[in-house]
């Protein structure tokens, strides 16, 4: 890496389409519009989740130190937000090819082999994500039947996991679409919208 690395330059935050909020979709027509709507929802949930977490935690500090009164639901709310951020984020990351991987061997392979491998990776990943979606639904159903509640908020525990199967499903769908795209197109795609080689170009999200 040379001193002229793009990271070194002041980074105008608004030049990247990812950052300006312009979500693209690989899908045609109505499906594409739904896809874009989902991507925007995920983005809003990510940002809102992080901001609410900061607000919640700071409020608790101020409440305890200044007003001698803690927010009893603070920890539980943060737990809900962590689940929200994680599971909105994994599909958003899949969409933008941002899940971390060790690509040294993959990168050394010739293009046709890379293509086959990428299709296999996408399909296997999609299957595992769909399986986890299924099992998380069944976990939620079991939890709901037992009726355990959060001690402070007194809301059923299963409610805070509702986003989990959605996140797994959307992630699985992203990888399934990546497999399809790789089969249809002559280029190699890391995700529905990202061509391989991102490691060298450091797109900023």
């Amino acid at each position: 890496m040379s001193p002229a690395d793009p990271e070194d330059q002041p980074r105008p935050a608004a030049t990247d389409p990812d950052v300006t909020g312009g979500e693209g979709s690989a899908l045609p027509g109505v499906l594409g519009m739904i896809d874009i709507a989902i991507a925007r929802t995920e983005a809003v949930m990510l940002a809102a989740g992080v901001l609410l977490m900061a607000l919640n935690t700071i409020s608790n500090v101020i409440g305890r130190f200044v007003f001698q009164s803690s927010l009893f639901f603070s920890e539980e709310l943060n737990r809900i937000l962590i689940v929200l951020i994680t599971f909105a984020g994994i599909s958003y990351a899949a969409r933008h090819g941002r899940h971390i991987r060790m690509s040294a061997i993959y990168d050394a392979l010739p293009a046709p082999a890379r293509k086959i491998l990428m299709v296999a990776i996408s399909i296997i990943t999609a299957i595992l994500m769909f399986a986890l979606c299924y099992y998380s639904v069944s976990y939620i159903v079991t939890l709901a039947s037992r009726g355990r509640v959060l001690p402070s908020l007194q809301i059923p525990v299963w409610v805070i996991y509702l986003w989990v199967p959605v996140g797994f499903f959307m992630t699985g769908a992203q990888y399934a679409l990546t497999a399809v795209k790789n089969l249809l197109d002559k280029d190699i795609y890391l995700s529905t919208s990202v061509l391989e080689g991102y490691d060298d170009t450091e797109t900023e999200i």
């Binding site: 009893f72 920890e75 009726g147 402070s152």
Partner: protein, 312 residues
């Protein structure tokens, strides 16, 4: 067969001692073996409870306070000044109580759990940074409690500022003075070293920490009678063992604390000093009935009757 048994504490703490005795008894009297999973090795309290309900674990030890999020009536053990301070009375209560031995098993059964026994873990002591003799002394003291509405209510009534904090942060928070107090049985205060970061240990007699051993109900019901008998005997043996073990436990733990930290001040509140704390406890009972309705009220009344019987 191999049976799995998880509990909420370390191997050398009360629940761990109970589990070791139970394991030894079962293994001596049957061909079964028991694997023990102490605190954290299979997850937190709620996790091991769910695993026992799912049948992955055959046995689980969980304190009724934690079970409160699943079985609201179990929170009755958080009502202060309900259980007696006298050890003989307390042991007699645990042996003979109708509420504990007949009513609670039904509530647990509805959750797929066979309640094998409940047992005491020792009087709950407060540790603080300054001496406490009255609720006024707890004024503006940020007191760490578990996030349970009844505990919060209790410490509000005691005049403190109840402060929720994850268990992993309690030691550090006492050290940096974010909080100035916490409550736990003496042996637990010793083993978790919380005395290192507080200066006074106070016995107000407000509670005795209770815990419970359960089995997965489907597993238990499917066992041949001989095996059920083995489990029942092992439970009884471990129960008697833990009552005897407890007799000296508190004083031994307190001695260990004093030896490690001679300047630790020990305060046992007099009956007179306890009066205002007891008076405050009434509001907690009301909150408990509000939260649990008729079912909770029935349990509470039965427990009071059992306690009266134990006092005779």
């Amino acid at each position: 067969d191999t049976w799995r048994y998880a509990f909420e504490e370390a191997l050398e703490e009360v629940q761990g001692k109970f589990a070791q005795k139970f394991k030894a008894e079962v293994e001596a009297n049957s061909d079964h073996t028991i694997q023990l999973f102490p605190y954290g090795t299979l997850g937190e309290s709620a996790d091991i409870m769910e695993q026992a309900q799912a049948g992955i674990l055959q046995f689980v030890d969980q304190s009724p306070g934690f079970t409160g999020s699943l079985i609201p009536e179990a929170q009755v053990f958080f009502v202060p000044y309900l259980l007696p301070g006298d050890t003989e009375q307390l042991n007699s209560f645990f042996r003979n109580s109708v509420a504990l031995n007949e009513m609670f098993p039904e509530l647990y059964a509805a959750q797929g759990l066979e309640l094998l026994t409940m047992f005491p873990e020792g009087e709950v002591a407060m540790t603080t940074k300054k001496p406490v003799h009255s609720p006024e002394d707890l004024d503006e003291v940020k007191f760490r409690v578990m996030t349970n509405p009844l505990l919060v209510e209790s410490y509000k009534a005691f005049g403190a500022t109840p402060t929720p904090l994850p268990w992993g942060e309690v030691y550090g928070a006492l050290q940096t003075n974010i909080i100035q107090g916490q409550e736990n049985p003496t042996s637990f205060i010793e083993s978790t070293k919380l005395y290192e970061v507080t200066d006074v240990i106070i016995y107000a007699g407000h509670n005795n920490f209770t815990t419970a051993l359960m089995a997965n109900k489907d597993f238990y019901d499917a066992l041949p009678e001989a095996d059920q008998q083995v489990i029942e005997n092992a439970t009884d043996a471990a129960f008697e063992y833990i009552l005897a073990y407890q007799k000296d436990l508190e004083s031994v733990a307190l001695e260990a604390i004093k030896k490690a930290k001679p300047e630790m001040e020990v305060i046992v509140l007099t009956e007179e000093e306890r009066a205002p704390f007891k008076a405050a406890a009434g509001t907690v009972e009301e909150t408990f009935i509000e939260m649990t309705g008729d079912s909770g009220k029935k349990i509470l009344e039965q427990m009071k009757a059992d306690l009266a019987a134990a006092a005779e």
